[in-house]
């Protein structure tokens, strides 16, 4: 696809040569319908976390685009992701958010499925079907591919999609900043406090763009910074190490993933955090010391918001969470946000983080409320006939990106924008939309996986 220079979307409605994007891609319902097919049936999508389904029979109802899916662990302990729709007449076979069950039974006519997806119960199988229905052909629809990566669970409907780690490419090392324990090891994380779910009246790409690396909108959060919701009672975070760091944007043009990061100079220690709570401060100090020791030069890197294409947002450091922007029509998005903590952390640490997380994020979180207000009104003000004639500008920092970026001996993969002096760039946003346009134009993964 990188060789394609012009399509309906590539350098058409998404004109990255000029740095302009048509408002149609956000508000046009036909484009939205096309997007469900072109993007959401082919990309890898975040489903949930292993800690949500630890035991056989455990399930969590998740979503893939507009589809409801069931993540469950079968009697043998294997994970599955199924379409939450009875094969007989389509009724949801699971209407709870999560739980444990031996079977998923359709309440409409009673077809029943085991946790491995097999059809095991058909009412009047002997009398009405005369035992002629081939149950083996009518199991729940299962995703084409599912992978567990460091506790996170991903799936795609497309059998031709590359394996998930190949889909991530070199972005993997940045995603690890969200999935490794605070001490940099693979000690398990867990989802704390359930999954927050709420609706926003905007197209799903507004939040996806925002988390791709829009730091230009920080002015929106000035009131939160003034209130001081951060863990130390000032600002909205407690990330003093950022003051000494280079501030970078990193993006991967052939994958569509992007993030912000901060990189400390060689030899610099990480500043202390959570100073108002001695137990929490000690926990993070010890964890950070271990992380710096085992990660070597890479330990100088700390995370900032990012986005795995298309609709999974990362917030790796403070607060640590993963969000999915589920499309619910061209004009509505359902946000699901998972909050992660070290499974082995003391209760006091988990509780401190829980309270900070919900103060910051989610429908009641002050920072997320700022964002939602922007996305809401930007979307509604872009729907009119006149408004739709005028594209958005994505020109900020065009041509300033670098490759082979190195800082005091630490090589950073991908395309890098140094924001330390520039303060802001829309390179990561352009990267997101470039990939989106490629998905919209490409007929198959043969064109999308052109790195092969």
């Amino acid at each position: 696809m990188a060789t394609k220079t012009k399509g309906r979307f590539v350098n058409g409605l998404v004109d990255m040569k000029a740095g302009k994007i048509s408002r149609e891609i956000f508000v046009n319902e036909e484009i939205y319908a096309e997007e469900q097919e072109q993007v959401f049936t082919r990309a890898w999508l975040f489903i949930g976390h292993e800690s949500q389904v630890p035991k056989p029979g455990d399930y969590f109802v998740s979503g893939m685009g507009e589809e409801s899916v069931i993540l469950c662990r079968d009697r043998e302990g294997a994970l599955h992701v199924f379409l939450n729709s009875c094969r007989h007449r389509g009724m949801k076979v699971c209407r709870y958010d999560e739980g444990n069950t031996p079977v998923f039974t359709c309440p409409y006519h009673g077809w029943s499925y085991a946790t491995d997806g097999k059809l095991v119960g058909v009412p009047f199988f002997k009398d009405a079907y005369h035992e002629k229905l081939d149950k083996s052909k009518w199991g729940l629809v299962e995703v084409a591919q599912m992978e567990v990566y460091k506790g996170s669970i991903w799936a795609t409907w497309d059998p031709a999609a590359p394996p998930f780690t190949e889909y991530l490419g070199d972005f993997k090392m940045f995603f690890d900043l969200s999935l490794e324990a605070w001490n940099g090891t693979d000690e398990p994380l867990e989802v704390i406090g359930g999954v927050q779910k709420w609706l926003i009246p905007c197209n799903w790409k507004f939040p996806a763009e925002n988390f791709s690396g829009d730091s230009y909108h920080n002015i929106s959060h000035r009131s939160v910074d003034m209130v001081g919701i951060g863990p130390s009672g000032t600002g909205r975070r407690d990330t003093q190490e950022r003051a000494d760091s280079r501030r970078l944007q990193v993006s991967f043009p052939d994958r569509g993933h992007q993030t912000g990061i901060y990189v400390l100079p060689g030899g610099s220690p990480t500043a202390a955090s959570y100073q108002q709570s001695p137990e929490v401060a000690d926990y993070f100090r010890e964890a950070e010391e271990k992380r710096r020791a085992i990660k070597g030069e890479w330990g100088r890197v700390t995370g900032s918001p990012g986005e795995i294409f298309p609709n999974t947002a990362l917030h790796p450091r403070q607060p640590r969470s993963i969000a999915v922007w589920h499309p619910r029509g061209a004009h509505q998005t359902e946000v699901w946000r998972w909050y992660l903590v070290d499974a082995g952390a003391p209760y006091a640490v988990k509780d401190f983080l829980r309270q900070y997380y919900i103060r910051y994020s989610g429908p009641g979180g002050l920072t997320e409320q700022d964002d939602m207000e922007n996305w809401n009104y930007a979307h509604s003000a872009s729907r009119g006939t006149i408004a739709r004639r005028h594209p958005y500008s994505y020109e900020q920092g065009m041509g300033s990106e670098q490759t082979n970026f190195e800082l005091d001996g630490l090589k950073i993969p991908g395309t890098v924008m140094d924001l330390t002096e520039a303060k802001s760039s829309e390179q990561n946003l352009r990267n997101f939309y470039k990939r989106w346009a490629e998905f919209m134009d490409a007929p198959s993964w043969d064109e999308l996986a052109d790195w092969r």
């Binding site: 031996p102 039974t105 009673g110 029943s112 095991v120 119960g121 009047f124």
Partner: protein
């Protein structure tokens, strides 16, 4: 009309009269209000079912023959 059996109240050990003149004992209840897991005690129409376990559909349950003690 026979009283409708509330399958959600059935528990392991309960004995049931089901369709085709068969009797079963409840093995477990998934509490979905639709099915129970049971073992055939008697099946005059198909004796090969005796001793086997199967899922019994709620509408195939005719009556509760015996409630097990806890």
């Amino acid at each position: 009309m026979a009283e409708v059996v509330n399958v959600r109240l059935l528990k392991a050990g309960d004995k049931l009269q089901v369709s085709h003149g068969a009797t079963v004992v409840v093995v477990s209840n998934p509490l979905d209000g639709v099915w129970i897991f049971a073992r055939y005690l008697a099946s005059p129409e198909d004796p090969s079912l005796e001793g086997t376990e199967d899922m019994i559909f709620a509408q195939d349950i005719i009556e509760v023959l015996e409630i097990s003690g806890d």
